[in-house]
Every structure is written in C-alpha cells, then in structure tokens.
C-alpha cells in the first residue's frame, strides 16, 4: 500500500500559559502529532508569545514550566517554529528574552502566506 503524502499542519497557539490549559494542549498536540511523519509547524501569536519567555518559574503554582517544555521541540524534529513579530512588539518582548533560539520571527504578511500554504490549521 502506498504511503499517503505528508500533510502540512500548522498549530496556532494564541493564549498565555498557565491561565488556561490551551497553551499546554497545543504543545501536547504538536508533540503527539510528531509521531505521524507529517510536516508540522507551530506559530505563536497574540498572548501565545508569553509562553516563550525564558525565565519562567512555575513551581509555586504547581505547573510544569514552559521554559522547560519548549526546548524539547527540536528533539521531536519540530523545527518550523514561528513567532508573530507584531505580537512581540506590542508586548515589548525582545528576541533575546525568548527561550528558543531557533524560532523564525515573521510579520503579519508572512503569516498570511504561511496559513495559505497549509493543509490543516489547528487552533489553540
């Protein structure tokens, strides 16, 4: 039987960490999907960019820190990680505050074409 061609899936994470389970759910979904040989990308925009701050310490609220989860993404061969430039700028977050150093910072126009290239969008 022929193998089905890989689909392009984009996970869009637009919510801040800890306040709801959405941010964690997005990471769980992208890590689980990495087992299926699809072309995965992950986009952080709006309050989702707060997940990327490097000095998170969440032991006092008894939750796992995003600073420690996010660096595993490249180990799962998830290397297409995008961050919305205007969302960072609005929140005055600079590139050197981000926990991941392999992200691609892209503007609204680039996100527009990124969405247009996908087979499936998963919104968190």
């Amino acid at each position: 039987m022929n193998k089905a061609p890989a689909k392009k899936l984009l996970f869009i994470s637009r919510h801040a960490p800890y306040g709801s389970s959405l941010a964690k759910d997005a990471l769980d979904a992208v890590l689980a999907s990495s087992a299926y040989d699809q072309q995965l990308s992950l986009l952080f925009m709006d309050d989702g960019v707060f997940q990327l701050l490097s000095n998170q310490s969440s032991t006092e609220i008894a939750q796992k820190s995003f600073s420690s989860i996010l660096p595993v993404l490249p180990l799962y061969e998830i290397n297409s990680i995008y961050v919305h430039y205007e969302s960072l700028e609005k929140r005055q977050i600079t590139i050197n505050e981000l926990v991941l150093d392999s992200v691609q910072i892209i503007d609204s126009a680039a996100i527009c074409s990124l969405l247009a290239q996908q087979d499936q969008l998963l919104s968190f």
Partner: protein, 102 residues
C-alpha cells in the same frame, strides 16, 4: 488557496477580530458568529478595518440567527452579508482551511 476565519467573540471586549484582520489575506473569508456578530455593527471598533478588507476583496459574513437573536438586524453594516448554517457549511467547503479565532 484561501482560509475561512471564524470569529465568535465581541470586538468590544476581545482582540480576536483585530488579530484576524492583521493577517487575513484578500482571498480569505471571515464569518462572524455567536458574539462575533457584534463585529458587524456599524459601531464596531474594527468596522473601518473590516470594511477596508471588504474593499480589498475579502468576503465577510455574519450568521443570521445570531444577528436576529441579539436584535441587531437593523444595525449591521451594509457591506456584510448575512448567511445561515447551510451557508456556513458551504463556506467551510469552499475554503481550504478554517481558522477559528477564540
């Protein structure tokens, strides 16, 4: 290929419509539903950006049942088309992907 963006939050209290408009392409469609239909009002905080997108070619729809339920049928901007659940299904088929802003 194009994307259908669905908005279900009021632009008076959420930034979802504004975020969507930032990255919406001219081939895309926008469907306002549930509290998202407040974005179709002539008094909506995003109405200028929304009508600019309509002028650029974006098709913007509001779900009629949600508009009528909220008593807004006289207050909807003329450039926004009303649709129903069958229309919603049709729009989902016509666009390649659906992005739900919530």
């Amino acid at each position: 290929m194009s994307t259908l963006h669905t908005i279900n939050k009021s632009p008076f209290s959420h930034a979802t419509l504004s975020s969507c408009l930032q990255i919406c392409g001219t081939q895309d469609g926008i469907l306002l539903l549930e509290d998202g239909v407040f974005g179709a009002l002539t008094s909506s905080p995003c109405i200028d950006e929304l009508t600019a997108m309509i002028d650029a070619g974006v098709k913007v729809y509001a779900l009629k049942g949600d508009v009528n339920a909220r008593g807004l049928n006289e207050k909807i901007h003329a450039a926004i088309r009303l649709t129903d659940y069958n229309g919603f299904v049709q729009l989902s088929i016509e666009h390649k992907c659906v992005q739900s802003w919530y």
